[in-house]
Amino acid sequence: MPERDYNPHPSEGGLVKPPVLEPGHTFASVSDKISAIVLARRTPKGWIFGFAVSFLLTMVLLYAVTYLFLTGIGIWGNNVPVAWAFDIINFVWWIGIGHAGTLISAILLLMRQQWRTSINRFAEAMTLFAVACAALFPLIHLGRPWVFHWLFPYPNVMALMPQFRSPLMWDVFAVSTYATVSLLFWFIGLIPDLATLRDRAKNLVFKKLYGILAMGWRGSARHWHRYEMAYLLLAGLATPLVVSVHTVVSFDFAVGLLPGWHATIFPPYFVAGAIFAGFAMVLTLTIPIRKFYGLEDFITMRHLDNMAKVLLATGLLVAYGYMMETFLAWYSGNPFEEYTIANRMRGPYAPAYWALILCNVLVPQALWSQRVRKNVLVLWVVAMVVNVGMWLERFIIIVTSLHRDFLPSSWEMYYPTIWDFATLFGTIGLFVALLFLFIRFLPLISIFEMRALVRETQETGRGEVSKRDS
């Protein structure tokens, strides 16, 4: 569909913004179009191919993890002094990606941003799968992953409790709470749509399955009233939660005494970086899906434009973080702090540092231009560059700080092994495979919220008044 110029606020004049929902849609047409993706008998060939590739990568992950469990952490490149490497880099990268989903579904809901409606379900699913990939790393990087339950406080024969004063323990609580609340939020949002699928499915097995999951939802006014209240309260709870999660993740580093980690800027800088990375991932995923499933009416240029702007804004916050990190290292007058930054810029990992600056600071500046934001392909490339840049950021923070600390006699280089890469790309496979399954079996756009959007755009005169029936 060609992008048309459409003015949602004729009185304001001047700025022409594309609508959040292309005009001409009815309650029935949005319901049918979105549920048809799930209820279609035939699975698209592209889906089968994409799922096969990502499933293969998931098997690589399984292989790498099995080998790890049989052999031990020694198969990875990390060793003293770089005792933390890919495991924590990937953990922070994945959990950061997840944050955009909660931001879109909770914070934008509280701010009454209409444009969140067609992307929130998908972004929430992305959060869930990203957190699943993230949670994998702290588990498999334990020397004895089979006793991972020792992380939780429970009465045991050893009469031991975890150390509650450690940020690593805070992480356990933050991440498990985040995973639980994200799952609840996502599932609650799905209930009315599962009822739609139950009522529309022709296949008896799926009809039963959707029916069980919909729990007998019938759209009663009393139910909707409590439902909306629950949804609003969950959004209110998820908002501080998402900020707390990446703050706690940054404490893992900031509470340590290592130069390059021990910085008060870490919590806000990490939260901004998380949202930056997450929006980049949402763009990376929505652009192809929108094209592939012909959802341009629902995910309009307005959405892509807004997401690009959020990407630019959070990118600037992240750039400020890099600047302050460098400035404070110099301003502190501490030779160890100064050396860490100098080592990042001119040491053995300097190419990674400058690649990070290129990816996260320089390339996103292209988003100032409206032409770039309107060019879907260029936008996708910029988002992809940011994905890489944010991974490099965590690499730089973790590896360059550890590999040369206070005592030159303990300096050592870090090189990742094939197993490090197999695990990283394996989780990408797992993430994509889960997304493919989600798209095939659950509605990737919230149907009931789209119906409400049809009504709102009709009432406020922002869309064409269309025939309600069909």
């Binding site: 009469a159 409790m161 509650f164 933050a174 009522d199 019938r218 009663s220 006014a221 009393r222 309600r468």
Partner: protein, 179 residues
Amino acid sequence: MTLNPPIFGLLAEFHSPEELLLAARRAYQQGYREMDAYSPFPVEGLAEAIGHHRTRLPLIVLIGGLIGCVSGFLLQYWASVIHYPLNVGGRPLNSWPAFVPITFETTVLFAAISAVLGMLALNRLPMPYHPVFNVERFALASRNRFFLAIETRDPKFDYARTRQFLESLTPHGVFDIDR
């Protein structure tokens, strides 16, 4: 008094949220109380129109959050002060600032779980069977149709008169809801 047939109630079908809202208000004015309105998306003011004004859900969430807050802190206090006191350079055992992050997380966790379970419990969900699904057209309640049901347990319910009243609202159709 006419003998009511053994049905759950009567169901009227409408085409737009405005019509349903109007019908619900009229029914309430007529004195009907045991009724329900069904829509494919939340319609503002509909719950109030059928006489449902407040929900206890916020209170449930507040209580859940407080329980999470207190138990999260007590868990850490008990483990660090009573169960396994560890003297680290003479620092206080009850180092409460270090307990804040986990206390916050358990507060959010308990509040969120009580929001979800509270909503489901107040809505009596999961409910595997409800008579309203016996009406074939009701499958459209999750697509693009709006329904108003008046139940037989309403003291004012009278099959003939209620049916006449519903038909006076110019619905798309009025159906018996079998039990």
